[in-house]
């Protein structure tokens, strides 16, 4: 072998092609990703800023639009309304979710898996569904309308209905964060508190709350941002309580006033960005906390506490189930609440007369495209950013852009797309009104969480795989296909599922971008509700939940099956 090494030519000839190929692939992938994010995210957002300083003719008018905005009482009022709504929703949802997460992680109630699954169900539903259900329950023809005065309310429309619906829609997002943060308990702290004879209440205040404070802040910021950006809920059950998302819609779709739409979009961006920054700062702190060595905490049974908590968890689960089942029930009764006989008329009406079949088909196509393309782009993108070498100046730029969508409400993204892609000067305006733009906007809208999931999975791999490949003269993209992708397959499937479900339920960005040919199921709910056809609207919402649920179950089963078939190495036991 010494002789072999000695006779080796200076550069192995087969290495040259590899090097050139790698050079191009590494930089090319990054450039492609960076320019994709630029065109489908940053430029549309920049367009909002530009338009807000122009008049309808496109001339620069400085701050005139902003002055007019402040001077229009109706518009200024909705800023205040939006903040009020978001604040109340946060104050309601976060304690509600905290107690639920506490019951799951820190008490000994039975059937935790069941309660957890029920709490996550709202993810499968469009937020419109909750609004429709509350109209069925407490609306003008509501079954339980008589209960409203007991709560001091005269009508469900407006703030009360919006908060109730939001408590459904944002609950799982808050709960997931709090479940994670309460899972990181340090048993030693509790033992120390017990050893000092601390009372249960004091222990809760001095140990439990502080250890969960970062999770609480994060959950609050997520709930707040969701409420600020929410469009479907106020549209359906908002009554005479205008919020910013509704204003954008009216300015752009109703009055074709893109400049004022841009101004309102910027105003809407402010609270979302503030919440995003607060959350980012807090999460950085939490990372430092988590690296500390801690002993996991296992709760011990306590009859009274466990009993009370079980009651609470059952009530919350009932809330989630009632909302979903109410819409489902409403969709199969003849004429709520007067004629409760069973019928499929609402489905038939929706499919045959309201052109819903078409919308539902579009939604399936779009969700499938988002799932496949989104998962591919997101995972490959995260890999290129984290694991390749070269073009290092691009990396921070791409990372920043990848996190940006989290701070951008869908309505704002949507108006940016109109302004950017609808401009005759833009050669990309051929995309306007196509399925492609719906897919692009949806992937971008949900990019941040998916990107984070992909990065987390990649960071769990040994950091030297690419270095080893290079030393063996195997190009990194071959290692990507042969090692990285197979090892991360579960994450990739999770990301695809996440895109699918969100594409089925989203309306905020796409409501600006669909054309008659590309209308979506979620948007058709909005139209049927506007037309007063609440039965068909409920039918469509139910259909979306059923589809999301079915795809979730199927993909979980597929994941399980694929892992069993192809990933024997995961079961390889550690040697004795």
């Amino acid at each position: 072998m010494t002789a072999e090494a000695a006779s080796r030519p200076a550069a192995a000839p087969e290495a040259r092609g590899v090097i050139l190929g790698e050079w191009i692939a590494a930089r090319g992938g990054l450039v492609l990703l960076a320019s994709g994010l630029l065109v489908f995210l940053t430029l549309p957002l920049a367009m909002i800023l530009m338009r807000s300083f122009e008049d309808r003719a496109g001339a620069f008018v400085g701050l005139a639009n902003f002055v007019r905005y402040v001077q229009t009482p109706a518009l200024a009022q909705s800023t205040w309304n939006t903040l009020t709504f978001a604040a109340i929703a946060t104050v309601v949802v976060v304690p509600m979710a905290f107690l639920f997460a506490y019951a799951i992680q820190r008490t000994c109630i039975p059937a935790k898996g069941l309660w957890r699954s029920i709490a996550l169900l709202p993810i499968l539903a469009p937020s419109l569904l909750a609004a429709i259900s509350f109209i069925y329950l407490f609306g003008n023809q509501g079954l339980l309308r008589g209960l409203l005065p007991l709560a001091g309310l005269s009508s469900i429309y407006g703030l009360p209905g919006m908060v109730l619906a939001m408590a459904f829609a944002s609950f799982p997002h808050a709960v997931m964060i709090l479940l994670a943060s309460l899972s990181l308990a340090d048993a030693r702290l509790y033992e120390a508190a017990d050893a000092m004879g601390t009372s249960a209440l004091r222990r809760f205040v001095t140990v439990t709350l502080p250890s969960a404070k970062y999770g609480l802040v994060s959950a609050a910021m997520v709930t707040f941002t969701m409420a600020v950006s929410e469009f479907g809920v106020p549209k359906v059950i908002g009554g005479n309580y205008p919020v910013l998302a509704i204003d954008i819609y009216k300015q752009v779709i109703g009055q074709q006033n893109f400049q004022m739409g841009a101004v309102v979009g910027l105003v809407l961006l402010v609270p979302a960005v503030v919440a995003f920054v607060v959350d980012a700062v807090v999460q950085r702190r939490q990372k430092a906390l988590m690296s500390a060595r801690s002993v996991p905490y296992a709760p011990r049974p306590a009859r009274l506490r466990d009993g009370l908590m079980l009651v609470y968890v059952v009530l919350i689960s009932a809330y989630m189930l009632v909302v979903i089942l109410m819409a489902a029930y409403g969709s199969v009764v003849k004429f709520w609440p007067y004629n409760l006989s069973f019928t499929f008329d609402h489905y038939r009406y929706g499919f045959e007369e309201a052109g819903v079949e078409h919308a539902y088909g579009n939604s399936l196509v779009m969700a499938a495209l988002c799932a496949v393309l989104g998962a591919a782009i997101t995972f490959a993108g995260a890999y290129w950013v984290e694991k390749t070498r070269g073009a290092d100046a691009l990396r921070p730029v791409v990372r920043l852009q990848a996190m940006l969508p989290m701070a951008v409400p869908g309505m704002v993204l949507g108006i940016g797309y109109i302004l950017f892609f609808n401009s005759p000067a833009n050669p990309l305006n051929v995309l306007y009104g196509t399925m492609a733009i719906l897919v692009a906007s949806t992937i971008v809208h949900f990019y941040s969480s998916s990107h984070l999931a992909a990065v987390t999975a990649l960071k769990q791999l040994d950091g030297e795989f690419e270095s080893v490949s290079a030393s063996l003269k195997v190009p990194f993209y071959r290692t990507f296909g042969r090692v990285t992708l197979p090892v991360c397959l579960p994450t990739v499937i999770d990301i695809a599922r996440y895109y699918f479900v969100n594409a089925m339920t989203t309306i905020s960005a796409v409501v600006f971008l669909y054309s008659p040919k590309t209308t979506l199921a979620s948007i058709s709910i909005l139209h049927m509700d506007e037309a007063g056809a609440i039965g068909p609207a409920a039918a469509m919402a139910t259909l979306i939940v059923a589809t999301s649920a079915l795809v979730t179950v199927l993909s979980l089963a597929a994941e399980h099956f694929i892992l069993r078939r192809t990933q024997a190495w995961r079961r390889a036991a550690a040697p004795a």
Partner: protein, 357 residues
């Protein structure tokens, strides 16, 4: 450059921002040599290894492999195999697929590849492990698989970054010998990074002692241990007593109330010096009265370290305690015990003297 030279580093510097990780490293390595980079944590060993591999780009300086300047070539254009501390075995590939990873790319026939993989697994002593997954192998086995993978393409240079540090002490000791004999058989030029001095001294042909991004000394294990070139090397390798003193000229030094005669000159009278004496560099038997540099003191404490024991002796004349080594037998034969008195003489040939400063 000689025909015999496998690798030459010229003025390698590396900065991370304003932090200087390597401050100008020059080194030449002969073909077939086993070289260890040894130094405390953070001294730049790994950085230097990664620069040789092309995984890190040096700020300045040249890397020359077999007379070819590879300073700016990407890793894939250089010729080496590497084993990382974590081994970086591909978890979803079998052991055989891992070892064959670099061969498959080279348009070789299936049978040829299989034969080569078998040969390599035989070489590292795991002939039957081919069908297992890495997770089914012990740490020591994984280490050897990584070694086989690195050697598969017959590289002319093998780079090892702390290859044994993830293993427990017993396995580590066994693998030291195995790696060394394997390297001799294959004849591949090898650079190993370690912060374990025992490992470096027992395995290397040549030890490169590094500190703060610079080479302090480069020599055979015996050279760096017995003739440390700098105070850092003397203190980093093994145990050493440091006696502050003053040169009296002509090889005489005053420490406390004692005058020592040492075969080391070159310090002007009055120069402050530090005298480095290892615990074992002393005579405790024989005709002590006839020897120079005789000392005596009271044993304050004895540490038993197995075959060797270290006695801490309070020498009043030196104004400081001195650690003296005794074999277990000497301890009994000479009746050394805590609280007792002992006589001994320093071995002048082994003592090192450095100017203070």
């Amino acid at each position: 450059m000689t025909q015999d030279e496998a690798l030459r580093l010229e003025g390698i510097r590396k900065s991370f921002g304003s932090f200087v990780a390597l401050g100008g490293v020059d080194l030449a390595i002969r073909r077939g040599e086993f070289v260890c980079f040894l130094g405390p944590s953070g001294c730049g060993k790994t950085t230097l290894l990664r620069i040789i591999a092309g995984l890190e780009q040096q700020t300045a300086g040249r890397v020359i492999q077999h007379g070819r300047d590879v300073s700016h070539l990407p890793p894939a254009a250089r010729d080496y195999g590497i084993v990382f501390q974590s081994y970086a075995l591909f978890p979803n590939l079998t052991v055989a697929q891992n070892v064959a990873y670099g061969l498959v790319n080279r348009r070789r026939r299936r049978a040829e590849i299989d034969a080569r993989v078998g040969e390599l697994l035989e070489l590292v002593g795991l002939p039957d492990a081919g069908r297992k997954y890495p997770a089914q192998c012990s740490g020591g086995q994984q280490q050897r698989i990584a070694l086989a993978r690195a050697l598969a393409t017959s590289p002319s240079l093998l780079l090892l970054d702390e290859p044994l540090s993830a293993l427990d002490a017993k396995v580590r000791e066994r693998l030291r010998g195995e790696i060394r004999s394997l390297q001799r058989r294959v004849g591949v030029t090898t650079i190993m990074v370690t912060h374990d001095q025992e490992e470096a001294l027992s395995m290397a042909d040549r030890v490169v002692v590094m500190n703060h991004g610079l080479i302090e000394q480069c020599g055979t294990p015996a050279e760096v241990y017995e003739q440390p070139a700098t105070p850092f090397v003397a203190t980093f390798l093994g145990r050493v007593n440091i006696l502050p003193g003053r040169s009296l000229g002509a090889g005489r030094y005053r420490v406390g109330d004692v005058d020592l005669e040492l075969p080391v000159d070159g310090f002007a009278p009055g120069t402050d010096v530090r005298i480095f004496v290892r615990p074992e560099d002393r005579h405790v038997e024989g005709d002590l009265a006839a020897m120079p540099n005789r000392l005596s003191g009271r044993v304050a404490r004895i540490d038993y370290l197995g075959t060797v024991c270290l006695a801490e002796v309070g020498c009043d004349a030196l104004h400081q305690p001195l650690t003296v080594a005794y074999s277990l037998n000497q301890l009994h034969d000479l009746g050394v015990r805590e609280g007792g008195r002992v006589d001994f003489a320093l071995r002048p040939d082994r003592v090192r003297v450095f100017a203070t400063g």
